[in-house]
Symmetry: C2
């Protein structure tokens, strides 16, 4: 029997869904990283191959189907940014072990923003802004144009992300400690959150463990709570990150010439839970600049967007 | 015979100098990293022990001295910031293999800013500002007070450093590329410097090699050259970093209550080679705020400061 395949491949976990030819999801599987940047090429390839084969095995079992075949597929991949990334992901995803169950000619690899946007909006003019651990923005317009801004990861970019919030939280604490910056409740709130007691331990927490963006991004919750306590330093950091997110959207909107058009803005990522000093600031400013904008939190899962795009191939 | 020992221990190389009891350097040796943070504890301990034993061997040979003994020692260490660092460095430096040639009771471990300051100024009120790969500021006053600001390394601090300049250079390029920020000559100048041809290769240069602060800090030279070509984006980055350096100094000066006193400011680090948009801005502003300040570039080597401090023990 023939199916379509949608994949949401992340640095920590990957979701794969098989749908029937009408686009209804009939089987799913979840497995580890399919990103060579976070887990190394061999491990990512191994995870990915085993995961897709497992999905095929489920189809065999559920539908007594001896030869399930994915007639088309859309693979959304976090970290697919450059030509080099594409070359690596092509090798990883379109590998010989999967050739028997997959029509490689009808398989597309896209950045995970693309499947997120497909999951979040059906409108012809649409943009997605992500503010999770990382930051990304992508959109398409009725003329088929595409545009992106940011999504360059933590050294080259990620302004407006949870990682950026976390780093600026830590730096504000050190500035206060040194006397280079104003006092802030961030110090005691972060100490409490991390269950540490002093700057020495903050140094150890920062440097004496393997570098992880997630660990720093987790501090964005403390930052948000501290801002809501009225702390000026925390509020200032959040407002700055909110303006970076606004800049991401404005850049994409401008490239797509959507300024005066009716378009959806899908927003997703844990930082949008921070209402007063992040989400509200962003939505208010964008509404002012783009009167015909419609805001939509992403409710569907990105893997559903991948299935939708695979169905259109 | 008895000697005094001075050490300048860095993350890449370590210099050790033996001086006679009048403080005249009579033998030197250079060896690898003595910093457990950059080379691991065992390797750093091994380097350090072998290096000091080699210095003792030189004394034996030069002075036909069978039992050279370091009566006092001052060990300057990059990365000695916290109580945890001190515990680790104590184990590393005051180890059993060296006990026979060293008076551990008369050995002091200090941050490398302390030996830099001792090398750079004899004045009672004195401050040192470092803007190399990292950023640091430290001072002492006539009353014996000490103060520092920054020096928290690349995640928690390093504002005003070459590393910070490098990162902001890269981010400005990505902003221009995205359309999030103004166009800048930094893009073509960095491409030329790195011998790369596009953003894909910049991504690879950034992420596909082991993380190294030095690599990013090396871009500060391109930043300086680009600013001197009149590029507004480059000038803005440099001015911001200069103001961070100024803030470091002002914080230390304020803690030491040197505002209206005659004091030396020793400056060191490759970024001070960037005159027009870094050094000149810093010196002009500080001269205005602190009329009795004296500027001194660091000419002596920090290891000479270590010897001087060891002689005072």
């Amino acid at each position: 029997m023939e199916y379509i395949l949608g994949v949401d491949g992340g640095g920590t976990k990957t979701l794969a869904a098989a749908a029937d030819m009408d686009g209804r999801i009939v089987a799913e599987t979840e497995f580890g990283s399919s990103n060579f940047k976070s887990s190394g090429f061999e491990k990512a390839r191994e995870n990915y191959t085993a995961g897709i084969l497992k999905l095929a095995a489920k189809l065999r079992k559920s539908f007594k189907d001896k030869t399930p075949f994915f007639k088309s597929a859309c693979i959304g991949l976090a970290g697919l940014n450059t030509a080099y990334d594409r070359k690596m992901f092509n090798e990883l995803v379109l590998n010989d072990d999967l050739k028997l169950i997959l029509d490689i000619e009808n398989t597309i690899l896209v950045n995970d923003t693309v499947i997120g946007l497909a999951a979040g909006s059906m409108k012809k003019n649409r943009v997605i802004i992500i503010a999770g651990t990382g930051s990304n923005c992508y959109g398409i317009n009725a003329e088929g144009g595409q545009a992106k801004a940011n999504g360059w990861d933590h050294i080259l970019g990620d302004e407006g992300s949870g990682f950026s919030m976390g780093i600026h939280t830590l730096r504000a604490i050190m500035r206060a400690y040194d006397g280079r910056g104003p006092e802030t409740l961030l110090m005691e709130n972060v100490f409490e959150y991390l269950k540490i007691k002093d700057i020495d331990e903050l140094n150890m927490w920062t440097y004496d463990t393997e570098f992880s963006k997630d660990r720093f991004a987790s501090l964005s919750l403390v930052l948000c709570n501290t801002a809501e306590m009225g702390d000026k330093v925390a509020i200032k950091i959040l407002k700055k990150e909110a303006h970076e997110a606004i800049l991401n959207v404005k850049t994409v909107v401008s490239k797509l010439k959507l300024e005066n058009k009716d378009f959806d803005l899908v927003f997703v990522g844990k930082n949008f839970r921070c209402k007063k000093y992040f989400t509200d600031i962003i939505l208010k400013k964008l509404k002012k600049d783009f009167p015909l904008i419609n805001f939509l939190p992403l409710i569907n899962r990105p893997v559903e967007g991948a299935v939708r795009l695979a169905a259109e191939i």
